[in-house]
């Protein structure tokens, strides 16, 4: 059949929703499913508390800008990670891929003379292609060789970081084009939005639209929900998984460029917990580690909760180590809520 629409079908009658109980249960499930709303409220409460305690220091445009700049690279990683986790996968390699891509970008830009917008563009493309290549390796090993994602990306985490150190001799490379640092790194779009934040915003919006509104997003959910069912309706599950890991790698490459713009060097040792931070942000944002459920908006909130905590604690002169403790607690709580939701649904 030409497969554009089901013919008006002879159909089978659904059982009348059996009584109020299942209806109530369903409504409860759906409310809990809206954990994005809950976590968003939590972020607003945090912002309110810090603003009330230190209005002069916390609730300023400048401070919010600082929080956003710090969150920008993590947001870019988090968007890719959201797709990966919705397929019921994981990508531990993003921090290493970020560093490796940054190293390649610096090498390329240096070779081209290290000045001018053309060089910046070429460097960005090089970083993204490098990340893409790592992502393709991850995806191929996971989808085709059927090695668990945890192991594959743990392997490329080590290989990527080791590779970066081999190329650089373990010494951070400096020397990025002046334009990258003075305009992208510290400049602002329309004098208001830092360029780094603008880039992260564009990635976020495109990611959210792709996830919610396109076939690519639909397949991402379907595979995470029931890969075998996806396979049986003819979805090329392997190819889609490779694409999703490639996306995550490519965004890690872009985050590498953002990091260069911000820190002006390759910060090789500075990204060992990026992967866990990105995963925590995604999971806090309500995306299920079991796959099939998740939103980019949730990830945005999940990125900002740790960032706001960090910033607020510094301003309140609370030991910043408390931030890590708090994020750990929130992360475990988020996964626990996810478990509860799943159990509530599967009890039927």
């Amino acid at each position: 059949m030409s497969a554009t629409a089901p013919k008006p079908a002879p159909a089978v009658e659904a059982p009348a929703a059996s009584a109020g109980a299942s209806e109530r249960r369903r409504r409860a499930v759906r409310l809990a499913t809206d954990s994005t709303a809950l976590i968003f409220v939590a972020l607003l409460v945090l912002l309110a508390i810090f603003s009330a305690l230190k209005p002069g220091a916390f609730a300023t445009v400048n401070n919010l800008r600082n929080i956003s700049i710090a969150a920008a690279p993590l947001l870019v990683l988090g968007v890719g990670m959201t797709f990966v986790i919705i397929t019921a996968g994981i990508d531990l390699s993003v921090g290493s891929v970020l560093v490796f891509s940054g190293v390649i970008a610096v090498k390329v830009m240096t070779a081209l003379g290290n000045s001018g917008w053309g060089v910046v563009v070429v460097g960005t493309v090089a970083a993204m292609l490098t990340g893409l290549a790592w992502g393709l390796v991850n995806g191929a090993l996971i989808a085709k060789a059927r090695i668990p994602a945890l192991i594959v990306t743990l392997g490329t985490l080590g290989a990527g970081l080791g590779g970066a150190q081999l190329i650089t001799g373990g010494v951070n490379l400096r020397g990025v084009p002046r334009e990258l640092v003075t305009v992208v790194g510290v400049g602002r779009l329309f004098g208001v939005v830092p360029w780094l934040v603008a880039v992260a915003l564009v990635v976020t919006v495109v990611g959210a639209v792709a996830l919610r509104m396109t076939r690519f997003g639909r397949y991402t959910f379907a595979i995470g929900s029931n890969a075998e069912a996806a396979r049986r309706v003819g979805i090329n599950v392997d190819r889609h998984l490779i694409k999703v890991y490639a996306l995550s790698g490519m965004l890690a490459g872009l985050a590498g460029m953002i990091s260069l713009a911000r820190f002006t060097n390759t910060t090789i040792a500075g990204h060992s917990t990026d992967n866990l931070q990105a995963i925590a942000a995604v999971v806090i944002g309500g995306t299920s580690l079991f796959g099939g459920v998740g939103t980019i908006l949730g990830t945005v909130v999940g990125v900002f909760i740790p960032a706001v905590l960090q910033n607020g604690f510094v301003i309140l002169r609370v030991q910043p180590f408390w931030q890590e403790v708090a994020v750990g607690v929130v992360l475990i709580a988020a996964v626990y809520v996810d478990q509860l939701k799943r159990r509530a649904r599967d009890r039927l």
């Binding site: 629409a5 159909a11 659904a14 059982p15 369903r26 076939r215 049986r232 309706v233 003819g234 459920v293």
Partner: protein, 254 residues
Amino acid sequence: MTTPLLQAHGIVKNYGHVQALRGADFAVQAGEVVALIGDNGAGKSTLVKVLAGVTHPDGGEIRFSGRVVSLPSPTAARAMGIETVYQDLALAPDLDPAANLFLGRELVRPGLLGRLGFLDKSAMAERTRTAFAEMGAGVQSDTAPVGSLSGGQRQSIAVGRAAAWASKVVFMDEPTAALGVVQAGKVLELIRRVRDSGVAVVLISHNMPQVFEIADRIEVLRLGRRVARYRPAEVSMEDVVGAMTGAVVQEEVS
């Protein structure tokens, strides 16, 4: 007898040391309901998966309208108009009924947006409503994830999906297993309507009265082989059960 619409000959399928199919034969004509029956583990689901392109046989031949075909993927089978209700339903529990109905065949927006893969969600929801129009209750057009529905409702969605897309053959692997009497009756009614539209229906069921009520023919599978073929009008339930358990062997196997 005219050329069967779909015909399997000598299908072999091994899982390690388990011989799920040992030279199974099968045939179905357009516009008939064939009941494929057999004990647990006889190989019914495996045969269905082979004929749906999900599982690749180790041997044997499949003919569609008399021509030898290969079914390398579910897509290949679906392109021939073959749809399947799997025993495990094969639904995505986190997606809503419309997304499941159109899974793998999503409608996209017209023009450039469509080429970028933008989904036409309202069109899919609309057609899901029409496709499930006679399902009463309206549960199916809901936006709740399929996993939050009852087992019977889920089964109805899987059956409705297969019926909506099938143009030649629809396999139903125990489509009434989770259903109450009334719902099972609805499925049988649906099967008749699908058959009357000229589509071949292959029903797998352990419910003998149901089989005798709906089937135009019965094929019996035992230990991975077809052992008997009957017309319900010409045979007793005891004989059929005898064939399933090995007490009666009608077809000699080579």
